[in-house]
């Protein structure tokens, strides 16, 4: 076995920008093996993966549609991770936001859109906050590892949703396990006719800008970055570490909740248990690829959105299972993680 070790040695700035690009290339090379195993030509597959989705207006807009929830969850994860709080519960918080939105969408049927949309956003945000609250409190008050508790909370809410959809919220007309259809005013407007791109995309971009300003330009952001980089150092400088982590955890939950609102009010118009295709977990990939930077996360979300769209094209054209998209994304996460080390370390053979 080749013996090597890592030496602390900061890399040049240009190489930091190169990391995502190289990571993508390495990922494509590795996943080619699986494409070949599935009986397809990797070049044809990547052509359908990357080029075809961008070649028509409709599918290019579809990339933005797919990226929308990922921007929300990616930003949510970025916000928590920046403060050293490992929120793995964006998936559950997304559903909590969706439950709140579904309730608004089914209840306030006589409100105009100008009132019902903000109400849905606020309550959806609060739903996410609420679902993030228990793990966050356990973390700061009792030092219970948030990774495990947020994961378990993801499982719990799926049963609650199932209980709701099989119980009080079962569609009275069809009897399917989905909540009643939203009334017109509660649906997000379409941005471009005959596409699925909706208001949620714009809201996501607004959230990106706000979060960017918070992290980079406000006292809270500086405190969060301090806590995220070194809890001991932050504590010494007089920063209230627990309070900072709590805020980061709850806001993160709220942003993840908005993802749920956006999906339900922009796409599905009723609550279903398959609302999220693991967007909460993909948010971790997005945040990592984006280097815990809101702008970087947005670019990463768009790229993952492209892969999601491309995976469907590949599946349709070449018959490669659509889960190829998941394989590419998870491989990309691991490769990026490995490569991020090169920012501060250099491999040296011994």
């Amino acid at each position: 076995m080749i013996k090597f070790r890592l030496e602390r040695s900061p890399a040049a700035v240009w190489s930091k920008a190169l990391i995502p690009v190289v990571a993508v290339l390495v990922t494509f090379i590795i996943t080619s093996i699986f494409i070949i195993l599935a009986g397809a030509n990797p070049f044809a597959a990547y052509y359908n993966f990357i080029i075809v989705p961008l070649s028509t207006k409709f599918s290019a807009l579809e990339v933005l549609v797919k990226a929308t929830p990922l921007i929300f969850t990616g930003i949510a994860v970025t916000f928590a991770f920046a403060a050293g709080y490992y929120n793995i519960g964006a998936e559950g918080q997304l559903y909590a936001g969706a439950v709140a939105a579904a309730w608004v969408g089914a209840t306030f049927t006589n409100l105009p859109p100008i009132a019902v949309v903000p109400l849905m956003l606020v309550l959806g945000f609060l739903g996410g906050v609420l679902w993030a609250l228990i793990p966050a409190l356990l973390k700061v008050k009792l030092k219970v590892d948030e990774v495990v508790t947020t994961l378990l909370m993801n499982s719990i809410i799926m049963y609650i949703i199932s209980a709701l959809l099989n119980g009080p919220w079962r569609d009275p007309e069809t009897g399917w396990p989905k909540s009643p259809e939203f009334f017109e005013a509660a649906r997000f407007i379409q941005l471009i006719p005959r596409s699925r791109l909706h208001l949620g995309f714009v809201i996501a971009l607004v959230v990106v800008i706000i979060v960017y300003l918070i992290i980079k330009r406000t006292p809270l952001g500086l405190q969060m970055r301090a806590v995220g980089a070194s809890k001991a150092g932050a504590q010494f400088a007089g920063i209230n570490v627990n309070r900072t982590m709590l805020i980061a955890a709850l806001v993160s939950g709220g942003i993840a909740g908005l993802a749920g609102v956006s999906e339900i009010a922009g796409i599905h118009y009723h609550l279903i248990s398959e609302l999220s295709g693991g967007y909460g977990y993909t948010g971790i990939i997005v945040a990592t690829l984006g280097g815990l930077n809101p702008i970087g996360a947005t670019i990463a979300a768009l790229f993952i959105g492209l892969i999601d769209t491309g995976a469907q094209t590949v599946s349709r054209v070449l018959g490669v299972p659509v889960y190829l998209g998941d394989v590419v994304q998870s491989t990309l996460l691991l490769i990026t993680l490995g490569m991020l080390l090169f920012q501060n370390y250099r491999i040296k053979r011994i």
Partner: protein, 494 residues
């Protein structure tokens, strides 16, 4: 035949020449001291012998045979053992388990067998240990014995002891020396790394003095004196900073009364600590490492709340203030470990602003211009080699310490808590920091200086308090303080 012969050893770390053309000989059955100041290259040389570092060039012979040692494992196989200040023991394992760890080649381990074996070894070498005790329950001296026995159990015939007394109380030092003398009589050869003249003269046969990575000289104990050794070691007559006349007692600014702190299992790690510091006074707190200095620093800087007692500044009670409030009360603080008290991933400017974020906030947003401007000013004033936007972790130790000190001093504090302010710094940085502390005292600041470097305490303090096992064993004016007097207090002598 020589036990160890190291010829023309060179080793550099980046720009630092740690060892330059070092020649070293260890005879069979002698205790040979490697004497030198911090950073003279003693530990580097021995780490090369033990396989922890690889020399850039040079040759090593053990018992006359040329060897190439790449790892501690190979060193052990060649009969070399090393006991460092940082014990390499696993706290949750027993003494016997620690001793056989990595050495037994049996598949199955019988607790009874290994305990019997370790007991036998313990008796054979005259190093008493309790084989079935958990290491986490042992005192520092006991742990050191386990380390020595571990090396001997692996058939070490050459034992390297790296500053073995730094962590010991005097009685333990005596016991250690007795054990070493006994072991040498049974044929062991010992290399004794130290920077303490008294110890070296007490126990060693020959002494090799290192200075700035080069051998200054190798002499027989009988043919030298402490004064001569000191000259070889330092290479100059006096130390850099000179203190002004000691201040007479002034009105106290900062007062500690009966501060106690309970550690794990209800053990008192601080016991009724009381002292005060006046305007323009440096109170030095001396003591052997691990006698509560770390805990005292944590209490003084607000990281830990004391279980008893009170802390006052200008008569105002600040006992249970958190770090931020303590800072705002006019107390500048430097952490005992600069890496723990700063944030390497943030910039120099951000680190400087961190303690006073509210004064850099304008309409809810950070005033980034002011942060940069203030940082540039501080960098200029403290001669820090960095720009405001540099990541702190890229700074050298000395520059990082200057940032830490600058942050504490930038608000013109009434009181300064300086904990291990020069640990690990080169000579230039050390002198700068000491000069700054004296300037601060002359400005009228009440300074609490916690340092394990006795020379530093003696050079800077107006009064000296000695801490031993978490309690203050006496406070004496610097003029009356002699190394002997302090040594007795530090050793816990009544």
């Amino acid at each position: 035949m020589l036990a160890v012969e190291m010829k023309h050893i060179y080793k550099t770390f980046g720009p630092v020449k740690a060892n330059q053309d070092v020649n070293f000989e260890l005879e069979q059955g002698e205790i040979h001291a490697l004497l030198g100041e911090n950073g003279a290259g003693k530990t580097t040389l021995m780490r090369i012998l033990y396989g922890l570092y690889k020399a850039d060039s040079g040759e090593i012979f053990i018992n006359g045979e040329k060897v190439n040692i790449h790892s501690p494992k190979e060193a052990i196989a060649a009969g070399v053992g090393m006991v460092t200040q940082h014990f390499t023991l696993v706290p949750t394992l027993t003494v016997a388990e620690n001793i056989v760890l990595g050495y037994s080649n049996q598949l199955v381990i019988s607790q009874k067998d290994i305990e019997t074996n370790v007991q036998q070894a313990s008796e054979k070498y005259g190093i008493p240990v309790d084989p079935s005790a958990l290491v986490r329950n042992l005192s520092v001296g006991e742990r050191q014995r386990v380390e020595i026995l571990k090396a001997l159990y692996r058939n070490a015939r050459i034992l390297i002891m790296d500053e073995p007394t730094a962590v010991l109380v005097p009685q333990e030092v005596d016991a250690l020396f007795e054990a070493l003398v006994r072991l040498v009589k049974s044929g062991l050869s010992v290399i004794f790394i130290s920077h303490k003249l008294i110890e070296v003269m007490a126990v060693c046969d020959r002494i090799t003095v290192l200075r700035d990575g080069k051998v200054a000289n190798t002499v027989k104990k009988a043919a030298t004196t402490q004064v001569e050794l000191a000259k070889m070691m330092v290479g100059r007559e006096t130390f850099g900073v000179q203190r002004q006349n000691p201040r007479s007692a002034s009105q106290p600014v900062y007062e500690l009364t009966g501060i106690s702190l309970e550690g794990k299992h209800g053990r008192k790690v601080l016991d009724q600590v009381s002292f005060n510091v006046g305007v323009g006074e440096i109170l030095g707190i001396a003591g052997v490492s691990g006698n509560g200095q770390g805990e005292l620093t944590e209490v003084l800087t607000g990281l830990v709340k004391p279980t008893e007692g009170s802390i006052k500044i200008d008569g105002r009670d600040i006992t249970n203030f958190d770090p931020g409030a303590i800072s705002n009360a006019g107390i500048g603080r430097t952490p005992q470990d600069r890496h723990e008290g700063t944030i390497g991933d943030l910039t120099v400017a951000e680190n400087l602003a961190l303690e006073h974020i509210s004064s850099y906030t304008n309409k809810g947003m950070l005033d980034r211009k002011k942060i940069q401007e203030d940082a540039a000013e501080i960098i200029h004033e403290f001669q820090i080699k960095a720009s405001p936007g540099d990541q702190l972790r890229k700074l050298s130790g000395g520059n990082m310490q200057k940032v830490v000190l600058a942050r504490a001093l930038s608000r013109k504090p009434r009181v300064l808590i300086a904990s291990q302010p020069t640990r690990g710094l080169d000579v230039g940085a050390t002198e700068y920091v000491r000069k700054r502390l004296l300037e601060e005292r002359d400005r009228g600041t009440a300074v609490v200086l916690l340092s394990e470097d006795l020379d530093e305490v003696l050079a800077l303090s107006d009064r000296i308090a000695v801490i031993y096992e978490g309690s203050i064993r006496g406070i004496i004016p610097a003029a009356e303080a002699t190394p002997e007097k302090l040594g007795l207090l530090m050793a816990g002598a009544a």
